[in-house]
Amino acid sequence: MKKLSARRRHPLAAVVVLLLALAATGGLYAAFAPADKAQADETAQSLAIDEGKKLYAVGCASCHGTGGQGTSDGPSLVGVGAAAVDFQVGTGRMPAQQPGAQIPKKKVIYSQAEIDQLAAYIASLGAGPAIPTKNQVSPEGADIAAGGELFRTNCAQCHNFTGKGGALTHGKYAPSLEGVDPKHIYEAMQTGPQNMPSFPDTTLSTKNKQDIIAYLDAVNGDDTESPGGLELGGLGPVSEGLFGWVFGLGALIAVAVWVAARTAKAKKS
């Protein structure tokens, strides 16, 4: 509980709580609830699908086609699953504003309830990964060190040692993972948004994913310690070299100017 209570101070904590509350009470709860409950919520779910379909027709159909079959402007959404929708819309990447090398993270324009409805609709088009449960994305009880090794094997090549992001070809990039909701990190691994490859449960188990989330929480969280002082972006030798030149050598030259300067002379009377 220590981790959770620490996270309460996060500026986005209220939003997360709100979103979680909405998710918990929203009609989509059924989608990832145990099967026996699903029946009871069947009506709620079909209601959500209907609502989602309406939202989809307004916001998404122009690119992804009226039935999610995809057009030249957007890929097919059949079988991408609720997790993909929750990630893409929940991080503001969808709906996309303009074509470019990569669709960036933006302000989220749908409420979580709406996102859940959209996800329910897309999930109804074909089976795909579901939105992870709260337990699945909690760093609680996970093995941080194992997560670190997994992160360095699978993720660091694009996202940097501690998830600060990095460059890909032709203007594409792996975004920084700082401040990203663990749920979205989980969904990204599972669905492989845009050019990111996916890491399905068959090759990167749910436990593995949880470990990775715990590692990121430990090394790139809000309270992560940088024992030696300023982190300098966590980018390695380039920013260190720049700092050394500007502030290190800069300070020493300023001192040298003082040492060598002439002392003020008494005014001539």
């Binding site: 060190a145 094997t153 430990a218």
Partner: protein, 545 residues
């Protein structure tokens, strides 16, 4: 010596204790003759003359902290499991080198501080040497009699780079290990012997279990030993040559004007050591460097984006990143030009700046001693060459950090690579031409200032209605300072036919030299400095403009 007369020693018995110690030392070490020459040695005051001291002191700081670090560091690649106090690495397999670096960082009190001081001081040491070298270059302080010291300094810079690289590799973390693997690839690219060199260096296949121990002895013993010798030689020569100075009233090529070593420079230079150490310690308190705990232990199948060496190796990283992937296969052999060409250009970039002084002295044919520094504008070709070289170096640094430029300025990494490929050839030429023009412009301004005086900003209306700006004549100090520089005339090939009508052969080097000399000092390559006659004509004519 037992022959010291008793009367002599008796007469000194009453001398203060300090003097008696000095006498004792003099009898054995001859310190008085040394002190006579050096105690009141004169050093001129200028901030740029302290850049060398920045290097010297950061070097001393590196040695002091380095010795401390050796007390805790284990240069071994034996695999161990981590059980120190840093949680996100608990139970991970790592080499003893990495483990002991973690121990220094988290479990030795003050260990992290010393590690950070050591690393920051190294970055500053190299940066200081770079700037110091450029100061010497642009002011022409490398001219006779200081050519040998220029070479010493250059060697120190190059050795510093390799000492830094080997030190950076010691913790055996994922980032430095990637750098070592790059080094393995570069060695493998050497034709014929590359594979053997690599196997000898790593004790077999990469990574093997030897390179940390081998780099360790190179890093703490071999290279610093040579560097220490060079530093001592460098300093002895500085003392022996006496320091250069800028032109100014009272300053000639035959004197040096400044403050004595005792007491002023003892206090200033001694104090400066503490200032440098203090600043570096404060930086190590404020800014983190090389956080190996976040980087993780080395594994040859893992990597992170943003894999770069420390800044001083950045230009070689740029070379290797922008090189096209050329590879030639013939008769069962592979010539890896894509790696080998950068490996060859890497020393050439450095040598380009190192040999310039010798080329210049050949072109001028000047065999005299020079102790008065040039203002960069007064030697346009040298200044333009230096600026072009710096721009070249900088272009390569951009290439070495192309991924970070891409992410931070939202550019395409491919476009940056292409930019660097073209800029590598184009930018130095442009910078050369632009710098030369700027220098000539500044020379013209100096000339105007000398002949017409300084613009005073006062506007005067003449009786016939014309407005003029009053120019104040310069003081004699300023006139002297602005005209003290020498100007070479371009070398001529000379008559090719002697008095008997026999034709003399003009060899290639001679012709080249005449051509270069014209490019250095010919018309349009320097502005003739004002002569006394010109000055008198203008001032006596009461003319302002």
């Amino acid at each position: 010596m037992s022959t010291t007369t008793t009367s002599d020693s008796r007469s000194r018995e009453k001398a203060p204790a300090g003097e008696r110690v000095a006498d004792w030392a003099d009898g054995r070490l001859g310190i008085y003759s040394l002190a006579k020459a050096n105690m009141r040695k004169i050093f001129p005051d200028h901030w740029s003359f302290m850049l060398g001291e920045v290097c010297l002191y950061s070097f001393i700081v590196i040695i002091l902290t380095g010795v401390y670090l050796t007390l805790f560091f284990h240069p071994s690649m034996n695999e161990v499991e981590y059980h120190g106090s840093y949680v996100p690495l608990q139970g991970q397999l790592m080499s003893e080198a990495f483990n002991s670096t973690m121990h220094i960082s988290f479990d030795v009190r003050g260990g992290l501080l010393i590690r950070q001081i050591h690393h920051w001081a190294a970055l500053i040491f190299l940066a200081g040497m770079f700037v110091h070298m450029m100061r010497v270059f642009f002011t022409g302080a490398f001219r006779k009699p200081r050519e040998v010291n220029w070479v010493f300094g250059f060697l120190l810079f190059v050795l510093g780079m390799f000492t830094g690289f080997t030190g950076y590799s010691l913790p055996d973390d994922l980032l430095s290990g990637t750098g070592v693997r790059f080094m393995e690839g570069a060695i493998l690219s050497v034709p014929i012997v590359g594979t053997y060199l690599s196997f000898f260096l790593f004790g077999g296949e990469f990574p093997g279990g030897d390179f940390v121990a081998r780099f360790y002895s190179v890093h703490v013993l071999l290279l610093p030993g040579i560097m220490l010798g060079l530093v001592v030689g460098h300093l002895i020569l500085v003392f022996y040559h006496k320091h250069t100075q800028f032109a100014g009233p009272g300053k000639t090529n035959n004197n040096v004007v400044g403050m004595p070593l005792l007491p002023v420079y003892m206090a200033k230079a001694g104090g400066f050591f503490f200032l440098v150490f203090g600043v570096i310690a404060a930086i190590a308190a404020i800014a983190q460097i090389n956080p190996i705990w976040g980087i993780g232990p080395y594994r040859p199948d893992q990597v992170s984006t943003g894999a770069q060496p420390d800044w001083y190796m950045g230009f070689s990283e740029g070379l290797i990143r922008v090189m096209p992937g050329w590879e030639i296969n013939f008769w069962g052999h592979t010539l890896v030009l894509g790696v080998f060409i950068p490996l060859i250009i890497f020393p050439l970039v450095l040598v380009a700046i190192a040999v310039y002084p010798f080329i210049e002295s050949w072109v001028t044919g000047d065999k005299r001693e020079h102790h008065i520094l040039d203002r960069p504008r007064n030697v346009p070709t040298r200044t333009a060459f230096g600026a072009a070289w710096i721009s070249w170096y900088f272009v390569l640094l951009v290439g070495g950090g192309n991924d970070l430029w891409a992410t931070h300025f939202h550019l395409s990494i491919n476009s940056i690579t292409w930019f660097v490929r073209i800029a590598f050839f184009v930018v130095p030429v442009l910078v050369f031409l632009a710098t030369k023009r700027i220098c000539l412009g500044l020379q013209r301004r100096d000339r105007d200032k000398v002949l017409h005086g300084r613009e005073s900003g006062i506007i005067k209306r003449l009786p016939h209605g014309e407005f003029i700006e009053v120019h104040e004549p310069l003081s004699q100090d300023a006139l002297h300072t602005l005209t003290a520089h020498e100007q070479y005339k371009p070398a001529e090939i000379g008559p090719t036919v002697d008095e008997n009508g026999v034709e003399r052969k003009v060899n290639g080097p001679e012709r080249l030299r005449a051509k270069l000399s014209k490019g250095f000092y010919g018309e349009d390559n320097q502005i003739p400095k004002p002569t006394v006659e010109e000055y008198k004509e203008i001032t006596s004519g009461h003319g302002h403009h």
